[in-house]
Amino acid sequence: MALVTNIKAFFGETGNIAGFTGRFFSTGLKPRFEFRELLNQCYIIGYKSLPLIALTGFIMGLVLTMQLRPSLVDYGVESQLPIMVGIAIVREIGPVITALIFAGKIASSIGAELGSMKVTEQIDAMEVSGTNPFKYLVATRVLSTTLMLPVLTVMGDAISLFGAFIGVNIRSVTSFHLFFTQVFHSLSFGDVLPAFIKTFFFGFAVGIIGCYKGYTSSKGTRGVGSSANSAVVLSSVLIFIIDLLAVQLTDLLGLN
């Protein structure tokens, strides 16, 4: 019996999220737009996340290089280290790790913020004072996560590669120029473009799940806490699912 209820709840929730997404496209993208709030959210969501993304990206590049080195030395292809690391970062690890860190920081904050606005009736107050809260709160946040995550990913990738450069230089010596020439020579558009495009979807998932969880938060501190928590969990899982689909799709399209 419990299993049936759980399955019902799962499909119910999935349907609600789909409905919420539909509402984003039908009402959220209609004029008039809240440009000021959009810029404000881009600043909070994008710019303010950069230090965190930079730090984690740098460490990841550095650590990945140091971990890969012994295996490559065993095979005597140590000189291929920049290529290996470059492809790993640009194609997969950069976008996914950046998106996960981003989900941890942003989905929870959106979930908690909208959740507490919901339980303190601030969303109702907005509705009553003639501003469509869906446009003002949800549309701006979803758009800014969708636009900011790709930018953050590109920056994170660059900083990661810089970390990898330092990682190579810990045990041996390579010049900055040689390292990046090797990396860029090994990369083609088939590596960069699909990885870049999927980050838009990651960003959209983080925004829409954070907003959905906050917007439908139940009353009380526990409700707000659990909406922040489930926003992070669900958007992280979705990032992996989207990643899986994106890789399958690029494979089918022969973009590899």
């Binding site: 008039r32 913020e113 606005m117 303190t120 009736e121 601030q122 109702d124 107050a125 907005m126 509705e127 009553v128 004072s129 003639g130 501003t131």
Partner: protein, 251 residues
């Protein structure tokens, strides 16, 4: 003939007819009817959880009733499209129980928010003047650049009242305006409600279970019991009533 025109000139502000609202199996309102005249303060009295807040949320269109009519300014609120509803809402103020001030904005931004309605065309000077006027009405002009978290409970209530009043609404709906305040502050809020009502000639519905508030503000009292309008009358009528359902509020 003369009599009919007289009646027309005093059309009630709000007419509620046979309103019902249920959440699942839980019936909150059934067959509730109430009329509010122009410039009249009607207090709706009821126990916690009796559906008082649901009633005023239906009036402003935040909740959709299952059946019944709510005539506000001659428009039937449950049947309005979003844009028309917005036009009606511009003439109604709503004071939330928890104030619902936007805590990420300053007091000034909070008060400017209702002025964002797209058909309003105000210059910045006009907006500033409206904000200062609204804050002076509640005696808090010095708080204009503070954040809501820096204010006390009574001040928050007054700022929320200022935000509600900034569009000079013709009807104000108060959701438990004095709950959670000490008796002295509650009395101040009561006086403020009366002062603003005199100044701007508003009609109001005040939801409360605070008997001091009822005594100070009510022109007429309606008792909400079991989803119906159980009784109506003045405060004195209620005070001297022998009906145990009414009498229990005075014990």
């Amino acid at each position: 003939m003369k009599k009919t025109t007289e009646i027309d000139s005093v059309t009630p502000s709000i007419i509620i007819e046979k309103l019902c609202k249920r959440f699942g199996d839980h019936v909150v309102l059934q067959d509730f009817s109430l009329t509010v005249q122009k410039e009249e303060n009607v207090v709706v009295l009821g126990k916690s959880g009796s559906g008082k807040s649901v009633l005023i949320k239906c009036i402003i269109g935040l909740l959709k009733p299952d059946c019944g009519n709510i005539q506000v300014f001659g428009e039937n609120v449950p049947q309005l499209e979003h844009d028309q509803l917005d036009q009606v809402r511009a003439r109604i103020g709503f004071l939330f129980q928890g104030n619902a001030l936007y805590d990420s904005m300053t007091v000034r931004e909070n008060l400017e928010f209702p002025l964002r309605r797209h058909w309003f065309d105000h210059s910045q000077q006009q907006v500033d003047a409206l904000v200062i006027e609204a804050l002076e009405n509640v005696g808090l002009a010095h708080t204009v650049d503070l954040m809501p978290e820096e204010l006390s409970g009574g001040m928050l209530k007054r700022v929320a009242l200022a935000r509600t009043m900034i569009l000079k609404p013709e009807i104000i709906l108060y959701d438990e305006p004095t709950t959670g305040l000490d008796p002295v502050t509650a009395r101040e809020i009561d006086n403020l409600i009366l002062k603003l009502q005199k100044k701007y000639h508003t009609s109001s519905i005040i939801i409360t279970h605070d008997m001091n508030c009822v005594k100070n503000t009510a022109d007429r009292v309606a008792l909400l019991l079991d989803g119906r309008c159980y009784a109506q009358g003045t405060y004195e009528d209620f005070e001297h009533s022998a009906d145990p359902n009414i009498h229990q509020f005075f014990e």
